[in-house]
């Protein structure tokens, strides 16, 4: 959607499972690896691929990315490495998205420090919510800026009482969570079959509309942060 807004956008796949790369039909070059990725500069530049969609490029990941944590640990400035790697890209892209594995690791810490906004999908269950609270506490403990966090409800099934109750309670107690939520819809899973982004094969669907609403709400908040190029998880 960032690309549809005609803003040059880069999607950086940091997950060794490479789902984002898969969706866009892009494979990493054989010679590409976590080590090369961490070298940055030319290594990153020459591995960026243009997706089939205008204004959207992708930096694919690779199975070797499962070692990113270990490799980061070996390096100096291990928690801010990613930020340094990505800063040269700011002049080419208006938005850089980092697709990260969903856990709190050294890689995640890098992302927390590199990103301007962190989108956190939360399934509206007590367990998921608890995970989010953990994340929030981690931020406090590490003195990271909590205002970067943009949690939103995902895989919402309105039929389930627990989902409805969790959402209601959260919105009552706090306004940190975004109002737009992503419902659980079969359409979304179909990205794996079509191997194309949702707006491409189901542009008019409720699923696409939900993502659109989410994107509009997020970009609404971007307008109020400082004028640096934005990076979101």
């Amino acid at each position: 959607m960032s690309a549809q807004d005609k803003k040059p956008t880069l999607l950086c796949d940091l997950d060794p499972q490479a789902s984002a790369s898969f969706y866009f039909r892009i494979r990493a070059a054989r010679k590409f690896s976590a080590k090369k990725f961490l070298k940055g500069g030319r290594q990153i530049e020459k591995n960026i691929r243009g997706t089939d969609f205008e204004h959207l490029d992708l930096l694919p990941s690779d199975l070797s990315f499962r070692n990113l944590d270990l490799q980061l640990d070996d390096l100096k400035g291990s928690r801010t490495r990613l930020r340094h790697l990505l800063s040269p890209l700011a002049s080419d892209y208006e938005h850089v998205f980092l697709d990260c594995p969903p856990n709190i690791t050294l890689l995640a810490e890098n992302v927390f420090r590199a990103a301007d906004l962190i989108l956190v999908p939360v399934i509206p269950t007590t367990l998921s919510l608890r995970t989010y609270v953990q994340l929030s506490k981690f931020f406090k403990h590490e003195k990271l800026d909590e205002r970067k966090l943009r949690p939103y409800f995902s895989m919402v099934e309105k039929r389930k009482l627990m989902h409805r109750q969790v959402i209601e309670k959260v919105h009552e107690k706090t306004n940190i969570f975004l109002h737009a939520g992503i419902p659980y819809l079969a359409e979304i899973e179909k990205m794996g079959i079509y191997r194309a982004p949702l707006p491409h094969f189901a542009g008019g669907s409720p699923a696409a509309a939900a993502f659109d609403d989410l994107w509009r709400e997020i970009t609404g908040t971007i307008l109020f942060t400082a004028g640096r190029p934005q990076r979101a998880k």
């Binding site: 039909r25 591995n47 691929r49 243009g50 997706t51 089939d52 490029d57 191997r195």
Partner: protein, 512 residues
């Protein structure tokens, strides 16, 4: 998507054929057909072309394209009916800023319109990821292109990171008989338009040969100037922009200098008649040009006055605009009248005949370069003698005289530049130009003050004139006077630079 490459296609090669031949290596995705219309614009004197660019209007935007790479340097959305003529008529955008910098007061004129039918295809790898995009274009209808010269081209776009696929495709295209386009498609289209790009220039550029006699050179110069006049007529009649009249008048001025300075070469009767006609034409166009110039000064005048006084200038400019409209119509009519056609006919006739004359003056057969040296050096000496005389106390009229002498010298240098070694003549002209700029500005300010004073006097006492107009005009005259004094102060140093020993040496070397 990043880099693109354009090929011209041999007539027999279709997209279907390319697909068939490549299907052993790749799969394809069809993207359908569409057609697009693009109109290219530039000023009459090709200001964009000289920067290696062109303005292109497509259905939803305006873009400044590089003629070499075909890429858009800047673009802006545009959905108006017609492309406006002037930069200030566009909404604020990078395109507007580019035009403001490069075309100034000139209008944009449509050069050629193309309609291209596109057929698009994507080449996919084994993951069915697009790696190359192909777009076959057929230039179908066109205002300027003769219909048999249809351009068929293929544009290949490489998706970022997939450049490895290009060499194979390139080799295939070469085998199929396709050639890379020698320049961008846009450049190719422009070259096919009826008006050849870059040909017209306001600068005097004429190649004379060393074999020419003074007479032949003189006639060539006058012919060239006469052609420039003819080329600008339509623009004056249609009132496209102010510079058509300006270029027309400069051509006349140059012609009058040629007639006056190239002495003893052209048949005297012809010279007399031509002088008369040119003088008449000059007079007919004076008023309109003056009005154009004052209207162009509007912003500057407003800026010179304090904000509270600016409104006083409004009625002056309203009056000038009305007068301008009238003058333009008068001149347009005069240019269409029979009298003008007869004069044009006369110019064409007498400038056309070559040496078949009985009444040739004695210097007619002298080699052109020899004669040129004489004319130029004589004028140069006059300029230096006059300039040296000028002190703080010299009356303004002497500076005006010097300005005119400088102009004659400059025109002579330009007329005969091709007969002398290019670089050094250029240098002399540059130095002379600096002196001319100083004298020119001085003269302009003098003329402007006179005009405003006359205006003030004529209208004082009339009930229609407001106090605020009197005050504004008075203030403006004072400011211009002050400016003029500053310019006069700079004269001495400027003249000294022109008369520097290096320049003296150059002039003597070439022309003595």
């Amino acid at each position: 998507m990043l880099s693109t490459r354009d090929y011209s296609l041999p007539q027999g090669l279709s997209l279907a054929q390319i697909q068939k031949d490549l299907s052993q290596f790749y799969t394809f995705a069809q993207d359908g057909k569409n057609s697009s219309k693009t109109t290219y614009f530039d000023t009459f004197d090709w200001r964009l072309y000289r920067q290696g660019t062109v303005l292109a209007r497509s259905v939803a935007d305006l873009a400044i394209l590089s003629l070499e790479t075909g890429e858009a340097l800047v673009s802006a959305p545009f959905r108006g009916e017609a492309v406006p003529l002037f930069w200030w008529q566009l909404a604020e955008s990078e395109v507007r800023r580019f035009l403001k910098k490069n075309i100034d007061v000139r209008a944009l004129i449509a050069v050629v319109t193309t309609e291209i039918e596109h057929q698009a295809l994507r080449i996919l790898n084994q993951d069915e990821k697009s790696v190359l995009g192909l777009r076959l274009g057929q230039v179908t209808s066109n205002a300027g292109l003769p219909s048999q010269n249809l351009l068929r081209f293929l544009r290949v776009s490489v998706y970022r990171g997939y450049t490895a696929h290009l060499p194979k495709f390139d080799a295939f295209m070469t085998r199929a008989g396709a050639e890379k386009l020698p320049c961008s498609l846009h450049h190719l289209v422009l070259q096919h338009s009826t008006r050849k790009p870059g040909l017209y220039s306001a600068k005097f550029k004429l190649e004379l040969t060393h074999q020419m006699s003074a007479l032949e050179a003189g006639l060539a110069i006058l012919r060239h100037l006469f052609n420039i006049m003819r080329e600008n007529e339509a623009g004056i009649r249609q009132d496209i922009d102010t510079e058509f009249l300006h270029d027309y008048r400069v051509a006349i001025r140059r012609a009058r200098t040629a007639l006056g300075q190239i002495k003893g070469v052209l048949p005297p009767e012809m010279v007399e008649r031509l002088k008369r006609e040119f003088r008449h034409l000059s007079r007919q166009t004076n008023r309109l040009r003056d009005l154009d110039v004052y209207l162009l000064h509007r912003e500057e005048y407003r800026r010179l006055l304090p904000e509270s006084m600016r409104n006083g200038l409004k009625s002056l400019f309203d009056r000038l605009r009305r007068q301008r409209r009238t003058e333009q119509r008068k001149l347009a009519a005069a240019l269409e009248a029979d009298a003008y056609q007869r004069i044009s006919g006369f110019f064409q006739d007498c400038l056309g005949q070559e040496n078949a004359r009985a009444d040739l003056p004695h210097d007619a057969q002298r080699p052109a370069k020899e004669a040129a040296k004489l004319f130029i050096f004589k004028r140069y000496k006059k300029v230096v003698a006059l300039g040296k005389k000028i002190t703080r106390l010299t009356p303004d009229s002497t500076l005006h005289e010097l300005r005119i002498e400088c102009k004659k010298l400059r025109y002579l240098l330009e007329f005969f530049a091709s007969l002398f070694s290019g670089q050094q003549i250029e240098t002399l002209i540059v130095h002379l130009k600096k002196l001319q700029d100083n004298l020119g500005e001085f003269n302009d300010l003098s003329v402007q003050q006179k005009f405003l004073k006359e205006h003030l006097c004529r209208l004082q006492g009339r009930s229609s004139m407001q106090d605020e107009e009197i005050v504004a005009l008075g203030a403006l005259i004072g400011i211009l006077y002050h400016k003029q004094i500053g310019i006069r102060k700079n004269f001495a140093a400027t003249f000294r630079r022109f008369d520097a020993p290096e320049n003296q040496k150059l002039f003597r070397e070439h022309f003595k």
